[in-house]
């Protein structure tokens, strides 16, 4: 920016002496990244995820490969991955809990939420289950049923389920609970794999300021 008619501070001299300016530039780069991510300091990790789970999850997510960002990025999009924590479960049902940081999601709207899970089935069998979306009640802290999906899987491997607006709203509020109830006699635990590289996860797509734009329209 020119300073009141004076010479522009970026001009008027030879290229910066990189060795002398290196520390300054590094500090500038750090501050720039933290500001854009709305962080005051670098996060300190409290619950790091295993590298195997992370690697598999990233491979499952579709999208442009790293280094090829979206062509027209007007706003700032986020995709948040939350790995399942197994809640109260028994042979007839499996509870999966997903936590989303309200500091990251807060003020933004979750535009899409996908459940990704790995199923292992014997050959020539199908597996049918009801996926119940549970949300926190407005009156108390109990979980209540918001909606449910019937899911039929015919082969082993990774599968995805697009969750509806109720689940998106729950992600926006920071917590999503899913309950999986199998239709047949097959024990849930032997079908859905939850160990290391096969851990189920939810990928939530968030756009900052989306809610604001909708209101203006």
């Amino acid at each position: 920016t020119p300073r009141g008619g004076d010479q522009c501070p970026a001009c008027g001299g030879p290229a910066l002496d990189l060795e002398n300016q290196r520390e300054l530039l590094l500090e500038l780069a750090k501050r720039s990244i933290l500001n854009k991510l709305h962080l005051s300091q670098r996060p300190l990790l409290s619950r790091p995820v295993s590298r195997a789970a992370l690697k598999t999850a990233l491979r499952r997510l579709r999208g442009p490969p790293w280094g090829t960002p979206l062509e027209d990025v007007k706003g700032q999009d986020y995709e948040i991955i939350s790995f399942a924590e197994t809640g109260l479960s028994d042979i007839n049902r499996t509870r999966l809990d997903f936590h989303f940081s309200d500091r990251t999601v807060g003020g933004a709207e979750v535009q899409q939420a996908r459940l990704m899970f790995f199923v292992q089935l014997p050959p020539n069998t199908t597996w049918t289950t009801t996926v119940r979306v549970l949300v926190l009640s407005l009156r108390d802290t109990n979980l209540t049923l918001a909606t449910q999906h019937l899911l039929e899987v015919g082969a082993s491997g990774w599968h995805q389920l697009l969750l509806g607006p109720e689940a998106q709203a729950a992600c926006s509020q920071g917590h999503l609970s899913l309950e999986l109830i199998p239709e047949g006699r097959e024990a849930q635990s032997s079908v859905i794999l939850a160990a290391a590289a096969h851990k189920p996860f939810v990928a939530a797509r968030v756009r900052v300021g989306a809610r604001h734009r909708v209101r203006r329209q």
């Binding site: 010479q7 790091p48 995820v49 979206l70 995709e79 991955i81 990251t104």
Partner: protein, 116 residues
Amino acid sequence: GVDCQAGSKMCCRQEFFVDFREIGWHDWIIQPEGYAMNFCTGQCPLHVAGMPGIAASFHTAVLNLLKANTATGTAGGGSCCVPTVQRPLSLLYYDRDSNIVKTDIPDMVVEACGCS
């Protein structure tokens, strides 16, 4: 845009890469391994002002040079060497609550420079 060479004095793009491992950020930034920040530096004499990428055409360069020669008190001027093309930086990182977040931050990587 023009990339800076040794001894460049005119407006150019200086490459600058921040290695996340070097600054100890590789534990919370999962991808990429570094940030190609780059920046603009160098002089912007009046006759190249208003020409993104400096040499828009020979004719506009001559016209601007004529303008510069006829103007009074042109030393310095108000022209800046600024980014003319930028692209987003894609980041995959752990946030404060150990969520894994992917985002594209707009206008973070300087691709080309020119005189404002």
